[in-house]
Symmetry: C2
Subunit: 444 residues, 2 copies
């Protein structure tokens, strides 16, 4: 495959050798142009983008990093953008238009192809993260009693707008979806076969308002390439292709990891620093209050620490191991929920397992810690206190790491929000309280 380095591109741009650059770009796959544009300094981005053919530009624009796309959309000439959007599938056009300022997008919708414009306006009404927000309206729908050659003729006349057809949808006169027909079957059928005879009538479809996470689960479950989208009366509205689902799965996976550490999904590597600050601040403020709570628990034992200052030296060990152990349990459970492995009937088993693992690991690691403490400090009772506190805290870690996300799931709160900040607060409190509490009882 043809390749070009970012250095070469910069070289062309700096010397204004646009003709030569364009010749090189024309040989690239759109997917290979995306990383180049993402890496260019912003002052060159628009110049480079303007060199792309409209069709190529329509493939490149939706795939760019958010900040690069934003920069281009803010500076591109409207006539140019109109031509690019005319080349896009409706689902991508709707995504781009939703990113524009309202007056710009209204203006633009008047200038693009009328039929597309109508469909895009419809699409913009759906929640971006629903089946309707994911679907494209470019589909081939056929009537059930068309014969093979009529069907082929119909597809020939209507396939222009649709990429990756693979299937046509069979509908009744009122657009109700009754079947799905693989193109391969059409190719191999007898000439007198009708759409209804060739189609698969047990068709799996999704309603437009279903959340994208559930849509992704359908693709996972049924191993599909294409999923038809219908309204509440089973009338065909559009289709979702699997390539868009891969984006959804990536997005949802990021979101789950992000939520666990209290990040918002729009907070990416190249989000503007001030925007990242704003996004992380509420959560860090919450964290400040959980830390103050932890601190106040330690405060209960200030008199003990004043007497036995080495307790302050050892107490981070108990809290630290509990925190990490709790985060492990939290991760296993939330991931199990996300992938649909955890159901109502098996949650107790999962909880019981995590608690068991916590206790056994606590006993083993606690014993190590006890021995090491004894060797370092020569105090067997101190070692015992540390070891027992560790067992207690790793039991707490298994308990809260599993019970909190499971309860949240039952209450229909997103379990990934049971972020590590809550779990570490509880294991910090558990660790400090059990260690300092035992020490107060036994050592003082």
């Amino acid at each position: 495959m043809y390749e070009i380095s970012i250095k070469q591109v910069l070289n062309y741009l700096e010397n204004e050798q646009f003709v030569e650059l364009q010749k090189d770009i024309d040989q690239l796959h759109p997917a290979d142009i995306v990383p180049i544009l993402n890496d260019l300094p912003s002052e060159y981005q628009l110049a480079f983008f303007s060199l792309l053919k409209h069709e190529t530009a329509s493939d490149v624009l939706p795939e760019l990093n958010d900040d690069v796309r934003e920069h281009i959309l803010q500076n591109i000439q409207q006539n140019h953008l109109v031509k690019i959007i005319d080349e896009m599938d409706t689902d991508e056009a709707a995504d781009i238009i939703s990113e524009l300022e309202e007056d710009v997008s209204r203006d633009l919708l008047r200038k693009i192809d009328e039929e597309d414009s109508q469909q895009i306006k419809q699409l913009l009404k759906y929640d971006e993260e629903s089946a309707g927000g994911l679907m494209q309206t470019e589909i081939i729908a056929v009537q059930k009693d068309l014969k093979r050659d009529e069907l082929i003729e119909y597809i020939r006349e209507n396939h222009d707008e649709v990429e990756n057809i693979h299937y046509v949808f069979v509908v009744k006169e009122d657009q109700q979806l009754i079947g799905i027909l693989e193109i391969t079957k059409l190719l191999l059928a007898r000439s007198e076969a009708t759409a209804e005879e060739m189609m698969e009538s047990e068709v799996i479809s999704v309603k437009a308002d279903v959340d994208q996470e559930e849509v992704a689960n359908m693709f996972r479950k049924y191993d599909m390439f294409i999923l038809p989208v219908v309204d509440n009366n089973n009338r065909l509205l559009g289709r979702i292709t699997v390539d868009d689902i891969i984006d959804v799965i990536d997005e949802e996976a990021s979101e789950d990891v992000y939520k666990m550490v209290g990040l918002e999904s729009e907070d990416r590597v190249f989000t503007h620093p001030l925007s990242s600050v704003r996004k992380r601040l509420p959560w860090l403020t919450l964290n400040l209050f959980t830390a103050l709570l932890v601190s106040s628990v330690v405060g209960i034992f200030e008199a003990t620490i004043a007497e036995l200052s080495f307790l302050a030296v050892l107490m981070p060990i108990v809290a630290g191991l509990g925190g990490n152990s709790g985060t492990q349990t939290l991760t296993v459970i939330t991931r199990g929920i996300a992938l649909g492995e955890l159901t109502i009937s098996n949650t107790y088993r999962a909880m019981f397992k995590e608690i068991t693992v916590g206790i056994i690991n606590g006993i083993i690691v606690g014993s190590f810690a006890m021995i090491i403490t004894y060797l370092l400090r020569g105090d067997i009772m101190l070692g015992m206190v540390l070891g027992i506190a560790m067992i207690c805290n790793m039991f707490i870690a298994g308990l809260v790491g599993s019970i909190i996300p499971i309860v949240m799931k039952t209450l229909k709160i997103d379990p990934a929000l049971a972020s590590s900040v809550i779990i570490t607060m509880l294991t910090d409190i558990g660790g400090f309280a059990s260690f300092l509490g035992l020490a107060t009882l036994i050592l003082l």
Copy 2:
């Protein structure tokens, strides 16, 4: 769609009403049978599985939870398994066979269809996590000068084994891949068109030894449904379908989250507790040593704490916020690396950004903490010490949270291994040392 509850199924099984149960199962989609089997008590799993038709069983078996599949494979009669595997695509058959004991699998490979057996043996040679390990050998490969109707005839004769065809591959006589031909194009072509004329000759393919993560990135980048796999001489070996890539993406996403908290990917919700204990123990032991290291840093300041015991009460605040802030940065950076957003040319920008965010958030949250401490303890100098330590530590969090995964990536070590245990160790040390150090200098 037809549905049946786990209660009904159990009821049938307990009363040995197998005929009635079978009638109900026959109406279910294989994908809907999987969760039922996963939820059944293990004593009923084999009885239920035996009621499935061979073709259904061949769809269900690969999708089951690991422990359920293991239980079935250990107890199923070999003749039954042979019939089920004969119905599978080669890629799935190879996955199942690789899970069997060696003597069982050798025996089985002798009993299944000879041609399949040869191909499966070939597939078993590839690394499970490579393109070769993912591909299926059921493909339709055609010669370049076949005309349209000859092609259709060829597909008619050879399509039996292949599900979801959508594309045929065009090869030279020595099986070298020269193009890919969408079935839709074939349907719409003139009758005298040859394969070579209709095909897309800029075909994207992958070598059999490429890692599955890179394969997934190709699907992401080029929005494909199907990817041909070739050997080092560009000879066609098989194809990878996008539904298998979705599994890879799920798997890799789990793996990334898991590594960050020191978990192994085989450690799932229902892994046996003792196996989970064994898997988590090495990492918790490492964690014990990092905790001892942190503790020894606190130990340097034991004399200060003995004098000013309230420092021990406040010190978890500095460490806690730094730890969470560092984990946030770590998550943003590793996720950016996993999705390919971070390239060599933009790493400095990413690091600089994270450090900036750390400092700004440190100043804001540090000021809050300073005021709160002053209000609670009435000591302005103590508040200052806490606030400044917090700024220092959140700077450290931004620095180590970004620099460690980036350096690991440069050294070609998996950046997700820069687990939270390392980051929290560093932010713990940073937090305790800066707070207790400043306190020793200023307050003592």
